[in-house]
Assembly symmetry: C2
Amino acid sequence: MSTDPAEKIKPFSHLFPSMVPRTPDIGAGDKASFGDTTKKQGLQLQTPIINHGVDYVIVFRYPVKTSNNRLQMEQQVMYGLQSLTTKLARAQLFFEVKQGQERGTLLILVGCPQSRLYKEYKTERNRDFLLGISMDSPDFALNTDASNSSEKSSLRHGFTEADRLRLIYDILTSPENTGGADISPHVDPFVDSIMPLHNDDFNKKWISTWSKKWIINDDDLWNIRNHFGEKIAFYFAFLQFYFLWLAIPAGLGVLVYFTHSNTLSIWYSLSVLAWGIAFTEMWKRKQMELAVRWGVHNCSKHEKRRAAFKGDTTVADQVTGEEMPFVPAWKIVLRRGLTIPGVALGAVFLLVIVASVFTLQLFLHEYYTGPFHKILHYAPTVGYVLLIPTMSGVYSKWVRLLTNWEMHKTETSWEYNYTQKIFVANFLVGYLSLFFIAWIYIPFGDHVLPYLNEFNISHDHQKVDFQRLQDQLVYFVVTGQIVGFLTEMVVPYLMSWLMPKAKQLSAKVIHSGSSTANGDNNQEETTDISTSSTGDAEFIKKINREVGLEEYNIYTDYVEMVIQFGYVSMFSPVWPLTALCCIANNWVELRSDAVKICKYTRRPAPLRAESIGPWLRNMETIVWLSSITMGSFAYLFHPTTNLHSSHVPLYTLLAILLSEHLFAAFRLAIHAIISVIPDWSDLMIKKEDYKIKQNWLQRLDKAQGNLARQDEGRSLEDDPMAKIWCGDVDVGARTDVGMEFIRNQFKSS
Amino acid sequence: MSTDPAEKIKPFSHLFPSMVPRTPDIGAGDKASFGDTTKKQGLQLQTPIINHGVDYVIVFRYPVKTSNNRLQMEQQVMYGLQSLTTKLARAQLFFEVKQGQERGTLLILVGCPQSRLYKEYKTERNRDFLLGISMDSPDFALNTDASNSSEKSSLRHGFTEADRLRLIYDILTSPENTGGADISPHVDPFVDSIMPLHNDDFNKKWISTWSKKWIINDDDLWNIRNHFGEKIAFYFAFLQFYFLWLAIPAGLGVLVYFTHSNTLSIWYSLSVLAWGIAFTEMWKRKQMELAVRWGVHNCSKHEKRRAAFKGDTTVADQVTGEEMPFVPAWKIVLRRGLTIPGVALGAVFLLVIVASVFTLQLFLHEYYTGPFHKILHYAPTVGYVLLIPTMSGVYSKWVRLLTNWEMHKTETSWEYNYTQKIFVANFLVGYLSLFFIAWIYIPFGDHVLPYLNEFNISHDHQKVDFQRLQDQLVYFVVTGQIVGFLTEMVVPYLMSWLMPKAKQLSAKVIHSGSSTANGDNNQEETTDISTSSTGDAEFIKKINREVGLEEYNIYTDYVEMVIQFGYVSMFSPVWPLTALCCIANNWVELRSDAVKICKYTRRPAPLRAESIGPWLRNMETIVWLSSITMGSFAYLFHPTTNLHSSHVPLYTLLAILLSEHLFAAFRLAIHAIISVIPDWSDLMIKKEDYKIKQNWLQRLDKAQGNLARQDEGRSLEDDPMAKIWCGDVDVGARTDVGMEFIRNQFKSS
């Protein structure tokens, strides 16, 4: 119907897909925006219009079924909506209220005028400049060639969809005194979430390209960055980098697997340890490099303060001078202190569950031979698959509460603390059983036996033990990851396949409601869109579908990878094929995550980031721990070790002591080696700053003019030193004096 | 004779001390240069004229007694002088050739015209700005108030004597393509050294003030900075800071000393360990703070390249684009690699000497009872006092050669490597014997006994052992430091007292020579100074005296302090009064070092520095080591430990393992605690940059004007988004739509 000429112009009608300007082909897309056009682009901040000009959708959810005083509730809800819309209006944003699919939800479609966007853009550039995030001030970006050739100014790459959405998100969430709408989910009443809409064409292209190619290159990451923003892009960059690095332990692992039978090889342990250190070090570099390329280097200097953080008072910021909410330090310290037991509690709770599930498994595997033991073998696996994930889900909800209670000023610190807390849980779930087997079950297993059962075949028993550790590892690396894949991909797929039926049902309910609503609307206002318009309806359906999805949670993806990294760096000597399995898994992971983001989760609001945040540190901790595991394993599982001697604990400790120092030495050495390699990003930054500043000095020539004049003013006449030295005498003469001295001395001697 | 009116004006004659403008009183001196006058000062770069306008003296030393072809040598010397003077002339510097006191030395007195100084000043400011050392560009410093209130721009503090001398030193040493004279001692033929002259008035005041006051405050450091430059100032700042911090272990130590009899207290060990960590951490802060106050923060970004470094080729620097000498990396790596055995060799050589002296001492103390043993007791001490210092002197000459051979591009890296190499030696000399006693002699002493002598009183013996360690420590802390003081202060004093006699002798020789020389000069040139003029003669005498002194070597001063720090942090539990002795020593040290610089060494050329360089790292290493010593001592010297059991080594290792982890934990905790304290310097920097940049943006308003215009251009008419959203409809209406929905839903439910 897009071809229907008689169609009267109404807001959405001329925006049928066929008529919407498309995002250029992936890859070509950004290249196109390079070069001379950038300046104009910089001015226009033009990005192809997608989703009928709807930048964000605010999901407004209110309880309908309230038994007591519905009228009051209705008032509240209305007031909530009122204040929301006023906020939007005050922030100079366009909006449109639509009815959601479920009962008690409204969808507020938000769009941003170019002028407002431009204003925000300028503000951000200025702020970036003032805080030293980029040396580029806005007018520079537009007027000097220094900054066109700049790797740092985002203009270099044209103004991207991600930039647009990020800026609008800032407008929506930033405090009102800075011209924002100051809207934030769960803080404003009934505001459930703020979400951008997927760019379906991009997503299609993305998935199709990636499923076709073997290796993800920088251009691909580049596209993600331009579309989803740096935070998401960094995840994929990390995943890809890690994927490539896994090749080393995978290769060595295969080698070891076929050379060494069932024993653990020291040199493989050492090389894995070295690999772990080198990997983390090199990632630091890669991270930095990407940050510079993507023009987000230093962006963490501007820490977006949490809307949820309302201080007791407000004080002027020492640097920028703007009013900031403030809470006395003691209060924060106190709360942070108090959350530690809280986290500990959660951790213990998980510990107990994991331990019990595991001991059950151990019992069934090792001792139980009663009826149904074939079937019962799988009981613990069920436990792992169903019980533990749910429990850790509970745990993360719990720590989220705690972290909120900790009063974090900035998003960054909130995230950091939250992530660390989650990590504790995943660490337990991921490794506890392995530690238990390696350090308790194997050395002391047969001390316990007499009390347990009657059969006591120590030598055989010991063999079984090492096998046991291996099995456990294999279970995690193979079964675990397959299960993970299923839950991540297949389940949501089935859900989305089952959904429609559910939708059918609810849809009917809506239609009755909405039609009446439209009736009213049309009376009130003619310019409003009738939901009956098919093209529009299509779009509305898309919105509803996306609202129905859950939000994308980057934590879980990172956790998965970091825990996996742990298996490789801490345990792979136990089963050398670990790395190989991980590499296979990650190849799929890269693609499936792409699919996940596109199909099974809402589009995340693009955010700036200059690193993978706390995960690097977690990995470094893991590498340190791996020096401990390696050391102890190397001693415990060495063929010559007699696990029944009483020295075992002592010698194990010594082995650990040794390998920890080895680790420290390795790290020093690797640091030294890497530092020899010239650092690209470092150089780029220096170069950039230098260029821009040079440019500045040129522009300040006028100002320097007067200096120059004063300079000319200085002649030897009015120079006090000249008076003393009578600067007019000729050099030759003065030298000759010296010559004379020399001559004399050679004479006289 | 300054009052003699008939005196005809000649270069120096009107510069008799009485007529020379004096440096203002210390303390008041810098205050005076604050405030409104700074601008003018910045332009004039006026500092009181001292030393008759002689900024530097170049000592030109050539061999007179050359047996073979004296003529050729004479030619060479003359050529050397010729090239030197041309260089000076080309660099637009004033100079005057004088005859030195010893035969075969010329003194080239160098002065710098204001105009040249000003040019250099401007260049430096520009470079600092371009390299991001200071955000302040020269014209800023002069035209904006932002930078007058700036803690960073050196103008804030007026242009100091140190600034002047530093800049002139730069002119003298920097390569010719940057307008310098490119003179460097031992690289240019016969150029022995470049030295500024002492400002006697300042020195007098300095010593008198410090000898009067108990505590050195920031103003005092400030004066040193203004006079001797940041590098020297940092030494005194560190010394003072360390001195104050010593109060803590000293206090605790006294407490322990009187509570615990002769045993070693664990909690004191732990508190000393914590102290060590806290001290290094806090110094980092203090250092940073001083760097910011003194306006040298980041100054290490500009690494002065070594004149001695002549690359195989020259390449353009990636950042600044200026031509830099270049050497292929492999060559450097190779050489660095090869020096390691070189250093090892030197270290072993020292090791042997120290060990032998020590074992001799041990033997004499513990076993020898033959004739003269009373006297012979002191033989080793003599060894320590005479033999070892000379040997380590040899060692440092040796490593200096090695470091030169390593081809270092910059002074910084040269210094760093040299310092580390020296430190190895001092570490051996300082601690080897203590380690030996603690870890070898005490645990295994009585295993050796049977082979050694007949008397074997094990229990008593053990007692003696711990005592032995204590004695050794006491020896180092008390005797050692007193001896150190003597060699540092009394010996040079005696020397300077004995010198005159020697001078008398040589003086005669000269006079014959010089008088003839003058004769010739007067014929040649009338404007030259006749050395007979008394006022002038006085000045010449001063110069000769200072030329006769040795150069100030900051390494030795640092080493002394860092090694002392080691005694406190690694060993003080063995003798709790250690810290107390050190505090006493350092109080004297602070003053005696001042005297040393003023009286017994040449004035060092002022250099910029933003830290104490490698010493911080060395101290951190020592703190880590102290976790090892503490752990082992805590076990070995615990009353309950039976040193004869076979587990001793094993358990010692475990104790070390434990305490190392304790150390790591402490460090984490202390980091965390300190990070809570807001960082003054960090804040200052941010504030500064922010202010200056803001100021910049204002100045670039014109440039931004066009943006503004484009901005006005944007109205909703030409806004593509506005078209879609028909931006003209009123907000109320759009909200009402939502209201309607809500009403319906509450109705319908």
